[in-house]
Amino acid sequence: MRIKCPYCGERDLGEFTYLGAADLKRPDPSSAGAPAAFFDYVYMRENPAGPLAELWYHGGGCRSWLRVVRDTRNHEIEGVELAKPEGGAQ
């Protein structure tokens, strides 16, 4: 598999580490339902057959966390962007 890192260009899979579904929304630890919300956050994952936004870490390159949309059926990569949103602190 090849991932096109926005900073480094297209690189071999060996440079990246996989984490899982992207769009991590860490729950509010002070909310009433925090334990249940954190349980879901840590353990429950979408596992679709089809495109899935995932987090990949370019540890063998620029150390960016990437949001990669990969089709789980055939490893086609539909898009790659930095996980850190635009406008965040640079």
Partner: protein
């Protein structure tokens, strides 16, 4: 027919072939001397010398010869080379001849011509499909002791070398716009067209010679022999620096994103690889587009005795005649279901081989093809082949059922072609049945690959050239290169179609009729499998082993489906096909491993003091990728004594240890403290500049992830240390926190693990040693630089350094860091400065003993299954802030008082030894899982206490101080009664670090 110059090669033709007749190569086969020429394969050279019998079959030990002229060879498997370079199961058809080659037949005893186990062949009625499953069933213990060793000895192929492979293998990457796989007419045309447009082209050819079938056929291109056409094309390709020609390179796998696996046989055609050259090179080729022009493989026919040496594919016969200048026999019969066979007959006759008959089961539409002075049997079949160790005659059954025995020593079999579509299936592509071709052709093809020529089922030269030109142009334009001067479409002569009316099986013969030659699977075996309920193609494969082995059924799979089709009355597409997975062709472990073997299995990281440590008797141990000094042996010293000496030096005077392997992360920015507050359980925003704090970080699931000290060097500047093992993981975690979880934080990280050499200087005299090195006016007195102080200073007259007053040993101690290139100088300076105090280097063993005496947790305790509470560090979880892992750490089960918690243990009998990994069992209870109350994680001999001590996790441990418990290690046979203690064995108040 034989030339005087090559009289030792009685079957060598006087002219023709793309071999270098001026040079003679000598080789041996089973100890006999033979000759051949550059351009020969081992197979062609053996045939030139009249050797037909080259091996014994897998199961029945039947005599076997050379069936093909290529990668698909099922029979002619030989052991190549001797000693440490001995390689079993090499295909004689793929072995390029070199001077001094030594080969041996395999799977025979005592000799190839007289093999004791060929009796298996006579017993074949009993050795049918599923024989092993049915016979060696009971008693069960017999399987391991008797049956399996017996079967392993008698079945099987060659012997692997038992010595270490002396050669090198390497891995390489290549990138291109267009990868062309195969260099027949389609491949060459595709490569030329793409290359002329300016695209970067790689042309990979499994053979040592480019040209594919062009080398083996008597065809014409532009009025000249087609065999010469590749030369001009290759000359042009070679002149372009955007083209890489890769002969002897098999593309064995297709992977995601246009990645292709290939093995280049760099020096397999040489007796020994030249110095500094690898034997083989494993390539990962990344190509934007690929043209698969891998050709096609001819099929055989299943009839009785069809495995005799002398029975050869018609296409291979033409290869031996036209490419190698070898007559594979003197008197040939052609058995063909396609017009290809008629070309074989003509080529044989043209080279002076007597054609005794052409047998074609077809009756219609072929009358005009029979131009030749030989008897023709239409609507006929070869019912049976006869001979001992080689073919002697065949029985032809004509269209009226009359049988004629005809003497011959060569039977050329043609039964249509199977496109070599394997690579098109590697990403899940399914082949589809093509009725007119009676063959599977590529169906859905992986993105970026286009299939052309015979691989796509386009079997004529004209089609191959057209496909190549079209696909080469498309691939180039897809990758952004405009078509330049397209090569003119070469004119080809009239061609026969290679369409066949395949004949899968001839009935009525006496003796075994083989479908899969390599696995000795007969038509009867398939029949039996079908009768016993294993009629689905995947079941047949597993029940009979059809299609397994080094050839992966390249000549067998489709024929087997044909046989099944007859049995079931179902058409082949309804039966289905088996898919193909990588590798396309056998690849060696050496090529896959590359340089990663032995001590080079992983990269090695050396701490800055390594050279100095080597000079000083260090014994090294692996710590992840690091090679760390484990202990510093003095002459005659045991490990135990060395540890005691090193530890005593730390307790009594001063020791020094390289701790550069710890991860070091430089953290800067306005929100640096906030980030640390969120990743550590304890607070760092309150840490004052110039101070250090021990921190514990959790995973989000509440379990401990790592620990270490972090110093604040400035308002917005921290330097974090991690454990050696988790340096990368913590970095990744911090980046996740910073970039993904809290992208609004304004903070930056950089790993500086390799930038700083860091030494722990520990012991009551440590300050005295450092004071000699630290430049004025820096003050490291107890008042000026108290416990947990941190600061930047200079040493030795201006060398920048960082000093941290932290202690892992429990003594007054410091860690001093200098830029890594000063690391060697620093250890020497420290040793010199400490000489008057007897400064002693200590290794990881003493470091471990010292920390266990202090009850400091390490890797064995932070093992992914323990929480802050389990580690006895509940107090470090700050109550008034959130951090990663805090919420889930408070799950009820993790707070259960019965959960094991960190304790110390020491044997009641001080002479008894402890082993890490022992489980805690109550005194008097059985050592069962039900009575398991925890486990021992770290043990050491404590020089201070003069006995073994350990720390581990014991259920309700904190309430059980003074109780007795057994540390039981059933694996190593230890059962030691211990007393439960505090995990801190030494200086529980920590007074010594404050001195």
């Amino acid at each position: 027919m034989t030339s005087p110059e090559t009289s030792q090669e009685p079957f060598r033709l006087t002219t023709g072939g793309v071999i270098d007749r001026k040079r003679t190569l000598r080789f041996t086969f089973d100890g006999e001397n033979y000759t051949g020429h550059p351009g020969d394969t081992l197979a062609s050279a053996l045939l030139a010398n009249g050797e037909r019998l080259v091996g014994r079959s897998f199961k029945y030990h039947r005599p076997r010869g050379i069936f093909s002229a290529g990668s698909e060879e099922p029979n002619a498997l030989v052991e190549l080379r001797t000693g440490a370079r001995r390689e079993p199961n090499t295909r004689a058809t793929m072995v390029e001849l070199y001077d001094g080659l030594e080969a041996a037949s395999q799977n025979r005893w005592p000799s190839l011509k007289f093999d004791v186990q060929s009796i298996n062949g006579l017993l074949s009625p009993f050795f049918g499909a599923g024989f092993y499953y049915k016979t060696f069933m009971w008693p069960a213990e017999f399987w391991k002791l008797v049956y399996e060793p017996l079967i392993r000895r008698s079945a099987g192929l060659g012997r692997a070398a038992t010595e270490t492979d002396p050669d090198h293998y390497e891995k390489a990457f290549a990138h291109c716009d267009v990868l062309v796989i195969g260099s027949g007419p389609a491949g060459l045309m595709a490569a030329l067209t793409a290359a002329r447009s300016g695209a970067r082209v790689i042309l990979a050819e499994e053979d040592f010679m480019f040209g594919g079938r062009l080398l083996s056929e008597r065809l014409a291109i532009d009025g000249k022999p087609a065999r010469d056409w590749p030369r001009a094309v290759l000359a042009e390709l070679r002149s372009l620096d955007t083209v890489r020609l890769m002969p002897r390179t098999a593309i064995y796998g297709v992977y995601d994103g246009g990645t292709y696996g290939a093995v280049e046989r760099v020096a397999d055609h040489l007796p020994v690889p030249p110095e500094h050259r690898p034997r083989q090179r494993s390539w990962r080729i990344v190509a934007k587009r690929a043209v698969l022009a891998s050709g096609a493989i001819e099929r055989g026919i299943t009839f009785s005795g069809n495995d005799l040496p002398g029975i050869t594919l018609g296409s291979a016969v033409r290869s031996y005649l036209n490419r190698f200048g070898v007559a594979p026999g003197r008197r040939a019969i052609v058995f063909t279901t396609s017009d290809d066979g008629w070309a074989t007959a003509r080529d044989l006759a043209a080279n002076g081989v007597a054609v005794a008959a052409v047998v074609d089961p077809r009756k219609e539409g072929i009358e005009t093809k029979g131009a030749g002075p030989w008897p023709v049997f239409l609507g006929a079949e070869v019912k049976q082949a006869q001979g001992g160790q080689k073919l002697r005659s065949v029985i032809v059954r004509d269209d009226r059922g009359l049988e004629t025995e005809i003497a011959c020593d060569l039977l050329a079999v043609s039964n249509g072609w199977n496109p070599t579509l394997h690579l098109s299936c590697h990403l899940g592509g399914k082949p589809v049945w093509h009725e007119a071709l009676s063959a599977f052709i590529p169906g859905s093809v992986p993105k970026g690959i286009a299939v052309g020529g015979a691989a796509a089922g386009h079997l004529t030269l004209a089609e191959a050239l057209q496909d190549g030109a079209r696909l080469g142009a498309e691939a180039a334009s897809d990758t952004g290169f405009a078509a330049a001067t397209a090569p003119a479409n070469p004119a080809v002569g009239r061609e026969e179609t290679a369409l066949s009316v395949p004949l899968w099986r001839v009935h009525g013969g006496r003796g075994a009729a083989f479908v899969d030659l390599q696995n000795d699977v007969t038509a009867k075996d398939i029949e039996l499998a079908f009768q016993e309920g294993y009629g689905a193609s995947e079941h047949v494969k597993r029940y009979t082993t059809l299609g397994m082995g080094t050839d992966q059924g390249k000549t067998a799979n489709v024929t087997a489906l044909g046989v099944l089709s007859e049995l079931t009355g179902q058409p082949i597409p309804a039966i289905g096909t088996t898919g193909f997975r990588p590798p396309y062709t056998p690849i060696t472990w050496g090529a896959l491993a590359g340089h990663h073997r032995g001590k080079d299995f992983r990269p090695k990281r050396l701490p800055p003091s390594h050279a100095w440590a080597e000079e000083n008797g260090a014994v090294f141990a692996d710590a992840g990728l690091w090679l760390r000094a484990q202990w510093y042996q003095r002459p005659g010293e045991t490990l135990q004594r060395s540890i005691a000496r090193e530890a005593a030096a730390v307790r009594l005077s001063v020791g020094v240890c390289d701790v550069s392997t710890l991860g070091k992360i430089d953290i800067q920015g306005p929100d640096a403290a906030t980030l640390l507050d969120r990743v550590y359980t304890n607070k760092f925003s309150t840490l004052k500049v110039g101070r250090t704090r021990y921190g514990l970080m959790l995973r989000e699931d509440g379990f401990a992830m790592d620990d270490g000290t972090t110093a604040r060097l400035g308002e917005q500047h921290f330097i974090m240390t991690t454990t050696t093992a988790n340096a990368g993981k913590v970095m990744q975690h911090l980046e996740l926190c910073r970039q993904v979880l809290w992208p609004d934080l304004d903070v930056r990280l950089v790993s500086v693990s390799d930038h700083w050499a860091q030494y722990a200087v520990a012991g009551p005299r440590s300050r005295d040693v450092l004071a000699k090195l630290v430049d004025a006016p820096f003050d490291i007195s107890n008042e000026g630089f108290p416990r947990m102080a941190a600061g930047e200073l200079t040493i030795c007259g201006g060398v920048p350094a960082r000093l941290f007053r932290v202690s892992f040993s429990g003594e007054l101690a410091y860690e001093i860091a200098v830029p890594a290139h000063y690391g060697d100088a620093a250890i020497r300076a420290l040793m010199q400065a400490g000489a008057e105090y007897g400064i002693t280097p200590y290794g990881t063993e003493a470091l471990n003993a010292l920390r266990i005496e202090k009850g400091h947790v390490g890797g064995p305790e932070i093992n992914g299954q323990t929480t802050a509470r389990d580690l006895g560090l509940a107090g470090m979880v700050s109550g008034d802030k959130d951090c990663v892992g805090r919420v889930l750490a408070e799950r009820p089960a993790l707070l259960d008082p019965a959960r094991p918690i960190l304790v110390g243990v020491k044997p009641i009998d001080p002479s008894q030894a402890l082993t890490a990994g022992s489980h805690f069992i109550p005194v008097g209870a059985a050592a069962t899982a039900a009575n398991d109350q925890g486990y021992l994680t770290s043990v050491a001999f404590s020089p201070v206490l003069g006995q073994d001590i350990g720390i581990g996790f014991l259920a309700r441990g904190r309430e059980r101080m003074g109780e007795r418990i057994r540390a039981v290690d059933l694996l190593r046979g230890h059962d030691v009664e211990c007393v439960v203690t505090s995990p801190i064995f030494y200086d529980p108040e920590g007074e010594r670090t404050r001195a």
